[in-house]
């Protein structure tokens, strides 16, 4: 298995631990990640609500780079996943939009051909790697570790575009987590947005949305597992900004997986997590 690795702005610039854990996890699983030279921001999830052609063209430029590499894209940000998936689907289906975008791309010497797929890490693990194989790769299973999963929005929604898992009662991330021996607990409002996208518009609302989930999760689990850098930062910052004693560790999915595959805390960049997450290393069974 080999992918063009689209890291995404927030992870590249703010979350080295997330990127490191993803790279080490894939290395351990024998999944090859190739960097996408010349790639940029996906276009942001905001762009389509400003100008659709710009959104499609910026996303398509990144997709073209992967097409030239002859590889499917692997993403680790829900926002990038949605932006790139939507552009990929639209341009594969809509000849009029494709013509317009390709006219623009021609000016930079590129062409969208519609030859690849975009997959978030969760989707790649489920559809390409396989849960059975993943379960067999777990060498240090967790014991009595209760975690809450946060899917975030754009991994699954809008569902007619993303076409992955179930937007209301998803199981993909929970199943991956249970392959590590951890227990994925059910909890109220599991599918609610983190509130991150309006952090720069109404910060107070973002913290309110974030802390409501934090407080709910604390009643059910020891940690909240995220699959998106924005969600991660929102839940981390909400606690750091608003709580005297931030104490719900937020852990990136590949960090959780990595430790169960025998990687060290340093391998998965655990020390980068601002809310102490070192406890994860002590949760293995005998």
């Amino acid at each position: 298995m080999k992918y063009a690795f689209f890291v995404g702005c927030t992870t590249l610039g703010r979350l080295p631990g997330y990127e490191k854990a993803t790279r080490k996890l894939c290395e351990r699983l024998g999944v090859e990640l190739i960097d996408m030279l010349g790639s940029s921001c996906c276009g942001t999830t905001y762009m389509e609500s400003l100008d659709e052609v710009t959104a499609l063209s910026l996303a398509a430029r990144n997709i073209c780079i992967a097409e030239e590499m002859g590889l499917n894209i692997l993403t680790i940000c829900n926002g990038c996943t949605e932006t790139l998936t939507k552009a990929n689907a639209t341009l594969k289906q809509d000849q009029k939009q494709l013509d317009e975008v390709n006219k623009i791309l021609k000016e930079i010497g590129r062409e969208f051909r519609g030859t690849i797929e975009v997959k978030h890490l969760i989707r790649a693990l489920k559809e390409d790697y396989g849960l059975d194989k993943l379960e067999k790769a777990v060498t240090n299973p967790y014991k009595n570790l209760r975690v809450a999963t946060h899917y975030g929005c754009h991994l699954l929604r809008p569902s007619d575009v993303m076409r992955f898992d179930d937007p209301n009662t998803p199981t993909s991330m929970d199943n991956i987590i249970e392959a590590t021996g951890a227990i994925s607990v059910p909890y109220p409002e599991k599918m609610e947005c983190c509130g991150g996208p309006i952090m720069g518009i109404r910060e107070d609302v973002t913290w309110s949305i974030g802390l409501d989930k934090i407080n709910t999760v604390k009643k059910h689990a020891e940690t909240l597992i995220t699959s998106c850098p924005f969600c991660y930062l929102t839940y981390e910052r909400a606690q750091l900004m608003k709580e005297n004693k931030p104490d719900l560790p937020i852990i990136h999915l590949p960090q959780l997986l990595g430790i169960s595959l025998g990687l060290s805390g340093e391998d998965v960049g655990l020390s980068h997590n601002k809310i102490d997450s070192e406890f994860l290393k002590t949760k293995q069974g005998a």
């Binding site: 610039g13 100008d51 063209s57």
Partner: protein, 167 residues
């Protein structure tokens, strides 16, 4: 509640919205409120009511829709999109309304800054020497160097750069 006044201007605005990709089904909204019910922002901001946004859009009430930060409060979570029994998709209506607002030069400053960053840095923020040094400490390769000229060409060509005041 402010009176809704329907005139030729409001009809023209409404009709132009309906032509927007994703907003075609606006008039099928029967105001059930499923969108508002599950909206994480509506639960916390009294003025933000997706159902009311759909209603105001049906009546072409541009001025009220464009007032204050109303349109920019949507988190884009698509919960309403999944809930709508009529597939009106208020999130898409809001997207169409933002496009219309932006055509009149109205855009939230935070989003404007993000857009303006793209031709300068290729990313939503600068990822330069400082960030790359930190990356190196973790054994990570330097961030891909985006082709800024390609991004500028795209954004100039679509006109968005001039509209955010960056080109």
């Amino acid at each position: 509640m402010t009176e809704i006044i329907v005139n030729s201007e409001s009809r023209v605005f409404r009709d132009s919205l309906l032509k927007n990709h994703g907003a075609e089904r606006l008039m099928l909204c029967y105001q059930c409120g499923s969108c508002t019910n599950d909206c994480p922002v509506a639960r916390r901001i009294q003025e933000f009511r997706p159902r009311n946004i759909a209603r105001l859009a049906m009546y072409g009430q541009k001025e009220r829709l464009f007032s204050k930060d109303l349109l920019w409060l949507c988190a884009g979570c698509y919960t309403c999109y999944e809930r709508c029994p009529q597939q009106v998709h208020v999130s898409e209506i809001i997207s169409a309304l933002r496009q219309a607002a932006f055509l009149e030069g109205k855009i939230h400053v935070t989003i404007k800054n993000i857009v303006s960053s793209l031709p300068l840095h290729g990313y939503i923020m600068e990822i330069g020497e400082f960030e790359n040094e930190l990356r190196q400490d973790d054994g990570l390769p330097p961030a891909p160097e985006p082709s800024l000229s390609e991004i500028s060409t795209i954004m100039t060509r679509t006109g968005i750069l001039a509209r955010v005041g960056g080109g």
